[in-house]
């Protein structure tokens, strides 16, 4: 199989797999004081340290969660409910129109509880204008949450500029960096982002484990899951020790490989992009081409529909995803693609290729040929 859906999830790094297998017999509860507990506690703290080293922050600032969605929920609901309890009326949050559903739907839920949300528009490349952020700020604004890089089109937001604006106005800033980590260097000593989310399974680690970075000194959050004292009482529940050991190792590997992998992945993506453009007429790239994640290519193959393309590529053993309505179970095409001002019919034709560390030059050559054949076949039977 040629796997080109690394933004959906990634295969385990072989070193991560090895680490997890070696760990599996360590059943101790990290909260137990006797030896088996202490041993596991130590391994959890080792993983925390590796992540802190990679992000250049303090281990105390790392909170393990059950994934990227939970990290996003923790910040957004945490900030909002603290404000509700403190009786702050007219709570207001600023975000963008192309956030991941784990941010979007969380905010939609808060809107029902009378939190006001500003969804900033993006330009044709998917970029948020930092001036719009400044203009949207009110005295009731309690959080700015803008993703670092978009999952569907790969556009990288001007997070530094936005952070500066947030800092100047004394408003907490959160970024969903699930897609950015491992692809863009993030140094938390050089920026003053307050909260950052990341996820294990997008960085060759296990699923169901994520991290919320919470800068020391930021306002306290109401925990999403309350209970025991785990994760400094920010996330109760006996730790997902297998996931934590796994994500720790995944981060360690990123530290070693990231620079060379990113170069290779970008080279392959560019090769795919130029190959498709050269061999197939009437296609358009969705999103930014400059400020874009190295492995992402989102293309509309006009006049044919995304799900059909996806399934025919599947027949060739190639895995991709689409922004067409047909695959989402809803009636509308991707809100991310349409937010760029791309017409609906073109959004239905969109395919996302997202490359990863396992892809080879041969994969790309084969993909270009298979896509060409698929597009040609479907265009011949298309009514447009």
């Amino acid at each position: 199989m040629i796997y080109l859906d690394n933004n959906a999830t990634t295969p385990l790094h072989p070193k991560v797999k090895e680490k997890i297998i070696d760990f599996l017999d360590n059943y101790g509860n990290p909260s137990s004081l006797y030896e088996t507990g202490r041993e596991v506690k130590q391994m959890v703290e080792d993983a925390r340290q590796k992540i802190a080293d990679f992000l250049n922050c303090d281990p105390d600032e790392i909170i393990f969660t059950a994934g990227g969605s939970e990290a996003n929920n923790t910040v957004i609901k945490g900030v909002a409910s603290c404000c509700t309890f403190c009786n702050v009326s007219n709570t207001h949050i600023i975000t963008s129109a192309i956030e991941h559903p784990s941010v979007m739907n969380t905010l939609k839920c808060l809107e029902k509880q009378n939190v006001e949300v500003t969804y900033l528009p993006v330009d044709e490349y998917g970029l948020v204008n930092s001036k719009d952020v400044r203009d949207a700020i009110r005295k009731e604004t309690v959080l700015i949450t803008i993703m670092y890089a978009n999952n569907e089109i790969g556009t990288i937001q001007p997070i530094e500029e936005i952070t500066k604006i947030a800092n100047e106005n004394n408003i907490p800033i959160h970024t969903d960096a699930v897609q950015a980590i491992g692809k863009i260097p993030v140094d938390l000593k050089k920026t003053s982002i307050d909260y950052l989310s990341l996820s294990g399974h997008k960085i060759y680690g296990p699923k169901g484990i994520g991290v919320l970075f919470r800068r020391k000194g930021t306002k306290s959050l109401c925990p999403l899951i309350s209970g025991g004292h785990q994760e400094s009482s920010m996330r109760a529940g006996t730790e997902n020790t297998i996931g934590i050991v796994g994500i720790g190792e995944a981060i360690k590997q990123l530290n070693l490989e990231m620079n060379s992998e990113v170069k290779k992945i970008k080279y392959l993506r560019d090769k795919l992009e130029s190959g498709l453009k050269k061999n197939i007429s009437n296609i358009s790239v969705n999103g930014q081409t400059e400020k874009r994640l190295p492995g992402v290519l989102n293309v509309s193959f006009n006049d044919i529909e995304g799900e059909s393309i996806l399934l025919r590529l599947d027949m060739h053993g190639i895995a991709v995803s689409t922004g067409s309505a047909c695959s989402s179970g809803s009636l509308d095409p991707s809100y991310v693609i349409t937010a760029l001002g791309v017409p609906a019919e073109q959004a239905h034709s969109s395919i996302r290729f997202s490359l990863g560390r396992e892809n080879t030059e041969e994969d790309i050559d084969k993909t270009i040929i298979a896509v060409e054949e698929t597009v040609d076949f479907l265009r011949k039977i298309s009514a447009i």
Binding site: E305, A325, P333
Partner: protein
């Protein structure tokens, strides 16, 4: 961008991967007796059907489709149903309903139904076009219309059912899409009842196999 609901039957896959009766030559060269179209690219599906008629039977049907796997698979299936055994009589073909195609296909995921609905509508349009082209306009409009539920906005029970099959599950969305019950409002209780009935009917199972 979540994963595809890949609950297609083998029949759908067969017709999607090897579609039958696609129009391969130009429209001029094929020179159909009747042509019908349905759908819109904005919604993600558009199909055009071409028929040739002899002795009141459709002896050849060709098609072109922009759409997802079930749109392509169901149009291909329809073309086989209509032309097998020497061709279907026009009156029979006029009566084909989405359920008939779905049954032949061995079922479809509920949210995919609207794709195949287009096939029968496009076929009816092609037959009407044939009637017009060959001086038999009197045969048009003999089809039985579905019962009208909302008289102000002219919404039928069939339409409500189709909306549900397209994924509508609540009254507000149904109203937004069809404008049902937005005038006198008298029909609202019945509309809600029908909505409830079809939601219950189609969303307990993963695959809809026709009635």
């Amino acid at each position: 961008m979540s994963g595809t609901n890949w609950n297609y039957s083998d029949k759908v896959k067969e017709h999607f991967f090897n579609p039958k009766n696609v129009l391969k030559v130009s429209e001029e060269e094929y020179n159909a007796d009747g042509v019908g179209e349905n759908g819109s690219p904005v919604c993600g599906d558009l199909m055009r059907i071409y028929i040739k008629v002899k002795d009141n039977k459709i002896y050849d049907m060709r098609w072109k489709t922009f759409g997802c796997a079930s749109a392509i698979g169901s149009t291909s299936m329809l073309s086989v149903m209509v032309t097998e055994n020497g061709g279907m009589e026009l009156e029979e073909a006029m009566k084909i309903k989405p359920d008939d195609i779905i049954k032949e296909l061995g079922g479809l995921p509920p949210n995919k139904i609207h794709c195949s609905v287009l096939g029968d509508k496009a076929l009816r349009a092609a037959i009407k076009d044939y009637y017009r082209n060959f001086d038999q306009v009197n045969k048009i409009n003999k089809e039985k219309e579905s019962r009208i539920v909302c008289h102000c906005l002219n919404v039928t029970e069939d339409e409500i059912k189709m909306e549900v099959l397209e994924g509508v599950k609540d009254f507000d969305t149904l109203q937004k899409r069809t404008k049902v019950s937005t005038a006198c409002g008298k029909c609202e209780p019945e509309v809600r009842e029908l909505l409830d009935k079809y939601v219950k009917k189609y969303y307990i199972k993963d695959i809809y196999t026709g009635e």
